[in-house]
């Protein structure tokens, strides 16, 4: 079954050849030794069909509309919820978030940011450098295995962003966000503008020194869980486990290293159009999916362990179903 699907949809297959999955995924991430190839092939054999269908539908949109820009409307929003094909992802994210416009209106800005230092440069550079080699060391574009290593670009983007937005500077977690943007968008300057748009306009105050929005989100999450899944909240309170401990990483990393990469990208497809609310939708969805298991947890370490395991959980890997359940 898997073989057939892959052959049929060969051009979407990324790294897979004839049903045999490569050790490196299409985004350059090296699969760990305990990677569950069997589950993944089952998932992929179905998902490739979905992708092929979506690609066909998106071709239509792109054909119908202006070739250069994609405008946000009800149809596009719906389409984004169903997933943007890889080949249109960069362009769609850039256009719908407003990053393209910002870039066009700010010629030379990026270059100048890289040339001109700022008052807290020393601290900023030290922080960025500390994390540079700790950003996706399992990805071939960030661990020195490729000639087009992206670490210099990542460094430039983080430095330029930190200089431009001193209220944030560099916050751990931004490195992952910027790196994934870079993997999708590929162009350094475009990635910078998408990152700026995301952190300054779509997710304001999440990464500032007070992390105000993050704290607000965690309070909102608590209220939402209390009203939607009161038994879950009871377990959390009994274990004295605040959502901040469990879920702050989810929000800060925008689910990178929390969910499988396919699922992260699907969430981002919505985030660039619909904004931050998708983050709580996905968070609630994963809590709901784990409700039965959560109710069996007796203390905080058990809860933490449960939610750490979602990265390899097939219900989250099946991103298409997962996204449908989010809404």
């Amino acid at each position: 079954m898997a073989n057939k699907e892959v052959q049929k949809n060969g051009k979407f297959a990324g790294s897979s050849t004839l049903g045999k999955l490569s050790k490196i995924d299409p985004h350059g991430f090296e699969r760990s030794d305990n990677f569950d190839y069997v589950s993944y092939e089952i998932f992929e054999s179905e998902y490739l069909g979905v992708l092929a269908h979506r690609a066909k539908r998106w071709n239509q949109i792109i054909k119908d509309g202006d070739k250069k820009t994609i405008h946000s409307n009800g149809k596009v929003k719906r389409f984004c919820r169903k997933g943007i094909p890889d080949c249109y992802r960069a362009k769609t994210w850039m256009n719908l978030s407003g990053a393209t416009k910002r870039m066009e209106n700010s010629l030379d800005v990026y270059e100048k940011l890289l040339e001109t230092g700022c008052s807290n440069d020393v601290e900023l550079i030290e922080a960025i450098k500390t994390d540079l080699n700790r950003t996706f060391p399992e990805n071939i574009y960030f661990n020195g295995k490729m000639t087009d290593d992206k670490r210099q670009s990542l460094y430039n983007i983080l430095l330029a962003y930190g200089r431009r937005s001193p209220a944030i500077g560099y916050c751990q977690g931004i490195n992952f966000v910027a790196a994934l943007i870079l993997l999708v968008v590929k162009d350094e300057e475009k990635s910078f503008w998408l990152l700026s748009t995301l952190l300054d306009h779509i997710l304001p105050q999440y990464y500032t020194k007070s992390m105000l929005s993050l704290r607000v989100e965690m309070e909102v999450l608590k209220e939402l869980v209390s009203s939607k899944y009161p038994l879950c909240q009871e377990v959390m309170e009994r274990a004295q486990a605040p959502w901040m401990i469990v879920a702050s990483k989810w929000i800060i990393c925008l689910f990178i290293d929390v969910f499988p990469i396919e699922t992260v990208l699907r969430i981002w497809d919505c985030m660039f159009v619909e904004g931050s609310k998708i983050l709580l939708r996905a968070t609630l969805c994963v809590i709901k999916q784990n409700e039965t298991k959560l109710l069996l947890c007796k203390d905080m370490p058990e809860i933490v362990k449960l939610f750490e395991s979602i990265k390899t959980d097939t219900t989250v890997l099946e991103c298409h179903h997962f996204m449908q359940k989010c809404f």
Binding site: A127, G173, S210, V304
Partner: protein
């Protein structure tokens, strides 16, 4: 502070393995290990926090109830040492302010450790990647029992991590012989393998510990 090797230390302690590509921590992570102290099994629950200043807003409210703390700095980066006092203030304000005591011990690198470290692939020795081998621990144990720091049998150890376990159990032993209300703070000067680039001397770290406990 960032990149001093907290997670790597924890990983070594719980998994007994050196982790070359240790990712940085966002928020809080957990490690548990069961150790045996005087025939009694104790489950240690260790919280590993993000090192960046702003994450203290996220993590500081969860210090309460802690039985002890490890403060880690990087011996090759003075700034990480200079920030110790603010971490200590946090630890004191948020735990049990009167009972925190310091003393200090030194664990030195042995020939065997050096050999072990040499076997780590060369790539992680490059300057950009922080090497996080725990070869030297500048460590404190509880001081108010009046005993001097217990000497560690450094020559018989093959990895610095083992000594961390010893030290933790030493702390526990001291602790249990006290009122039981004692909070323990360990001071760890990490990355002892980079001794050549040392920026903070053992003596001043000892002085810091003495002055504060």
């Amino acid at each position: 502070d960032m990149g001093v090797g907290k997670s790597c230390l924890l990983h070594q302690f719980t998994e007994k393995k050196f982790m070359a590509d240790c990712p940085h921590t966002i928020g809080v992570e957990f490690g548990t290990r069961i150790i045996e102290v005087s025939g009694q099994k104790i489950k240690l629950q260790i919280w590993d926090t993000a090192g960046q200043e702003r994450f203290r807003a996220v993590t500081r409210s969860y210090y309460r109830g802690a039985a002890g703390a490890l403060m880690v700095y990087d011996i090759t980066r003075r700034s990480t040492y200079n920030h110790l006092s603010s971490w200590l203030t946090d630890a004191r304000n948020l735990t049990n302010p009167n009972t925190v005591k310091f003393s200090i011990n030194k664990y030195t690198i042995t020939g065997e450790q050096y050999r072990v470290m040499k076997e780590i692939p060369a790539v992680i020795w490059s300057h950009m990647v922080p090497v996080q081998v725990v070869a030297e621990l500048t460590v404190s144990t509880v001081g108010n029992t009046g005993t001097s720091p217990v000497p560690l049998e450094s020559s018989t150890r093959t990895a610095g991590v083992l000594s961390l376990e010893d030290i933790l159990s030493l702390g526990k032993t001291d602790n249990s012989s006290d009122s039981g209300e004692e909070d323990v703070i360990f001071l760890i000067g990490n990355k002892g393998d980079l001794d050549a680039q040392r920026d903070v001397t053992y003596e001043e770290a000892k002085q810091f510990a003495d002055e504060n406990g």
